[in-house]
Symmetry: C2
DNA sequence: AAAAATCTGTTGCAAATACAACAATTTTAC
DNA sequence: GTAAAATTGTTGTATTTGCAACAGATTTTT
């Protein structure tokens, strides 16, 4: 069961069970690398990650893969959140995982008579809001005008999230370069410059910022 | 009043008036270039664009401007949707505009007793969902690796939205450069290259793509 | 209708970045 | 436990991009 801070926050176990039953929700298990089907045309299906991790990925016409979103326990995904027209989008399990599906329209109907449905809708709203903030962060990083600034912004953000001047980089440098949309070797060079200028310290991917 | 397709969809004029009154909403007028203040700490304020246009912009410490989001009639903005990394974020009116402010938490409370509040919450949800899709598009543009590709991607997207090979650029070139987070003069140079290479035609900001 | 401000189009040059290529190290797979 | 694959670290060089600066065109203000 997803912890109380997530999508089921402020709903009592018993009431939740009833609500999910009333919504005719279904729960499925997936193994690593399995594709999670969720798009049912005409219906607004929302998937709730009960446990495990998955990626929302796009395969464009060249077959190039891009990770659009990373989904963890308590996170949600839906065809409501992505453009349906063009390229192929799939949710692919990166670990064993458990997913509950509900229909958004059913939830909406239940709001009239069931207070817990309102709470769930609110939790969904907050989750989408969180997604927006995450995307915004990404945009802010991508719109800084140099590799040096991208790195510094990213490091500052991570340190801030960690309530510290340090944090552990959980990306490989190769992935970080992809995330920041910059050339890896150019990034490595700039990383070296930052270290030489003593703006950061990097001990085994524990990065510490020495400014301000 | 915002048209029925927007944030007030499916709410009768009379009921809407009552709802907004119950929510103790306030409405303000702004003139072009005016900054719209909306962040009130501790409260979740949502601004609804009744009419006019505005941009959500960032000024970084160097004074460089980047357009983060474009707001049109029927769109919403809120400090719930952004969490700035370090730099300054503001909503700036690009035309004369009218904005109604409501408190999210008040709306939520009203959902228990007022069906129209549920409808409004649903409309807000759908709007946020639309924002998610838009930001995703932006990220796709920003992650392309050169000015040439950024321009081509942007042009292709706009043309596609227009169901055509052409579209009218509604940005000034100065703004487009800010939107794509690139240097204006470098962009102008690349724009010239694209024209010289006959990949695009640009007649008075009506841009036509000549590929594929 | 004149003045001021902004936008467009251009260029030379310096600086930043991407590309390519490779060896060394680490991680993953069998 | 070894082979294969991926990541890291580095460098020289070509290319792209940003910066600065300007003149002409267009738009806005007064």
């Amino acid at each position: 069961m997803v912890e109380k801070q997530g999508i089921y926050k402020n709903i009592e176990e018993k009431n939740l069970k009833k609500l999910l039953h009333d919504l005719q929700s279904t729960t499925h298990l997936y193994t690593q690398t399995e594709t999670i089907a969720y798009s049912i045309s005409g219906r607004n299906i929302i998937g709730i990650m009960e446990s495990g991790n998955a990626n929302l990925v796009r395969f464009d016409y060249d077959g190039v893969r891009t990770i659009i979103d990373e989904l963890a326990e308590g996170d949600i995904f839906s065809d409501m959140f992505v453009e349906t027209i063009s390229s192929e989008l799939s949710v692919i399990a990166t670990t064993k995982c458990k997913v509950t599906f509900i229909e958004y329209n059913e939830l909406l109907k239940k709001c009239k008579s069931n207070e817990n449905a309102i709470i769930l809708l609110n939790n969904l709203f907050k989750n989408v809001t969180k997604k927006l903030i995450k995307r915004n962060e990404r945009i802010e990083l991508l719109t800084t005008r140099s590799i040096r600034n991208k790195l510094l912004s990213y490091f500052e953000l991570q340190a801030k999230k960690n309530n510290s001047k340090s944090f552990n980089l959980r990306y490989t440098y190769t992935d970080l370069a992809d995330y920041l949309a910059i050339d890896r070797s150019a990034m490595m060079r700039e990383l070296k410059n930052l270290k030489d200028d003593k703006l950061i310290t990097d001990i085994n991917k524990k990065i510490t910022i020495n400014i301000k």
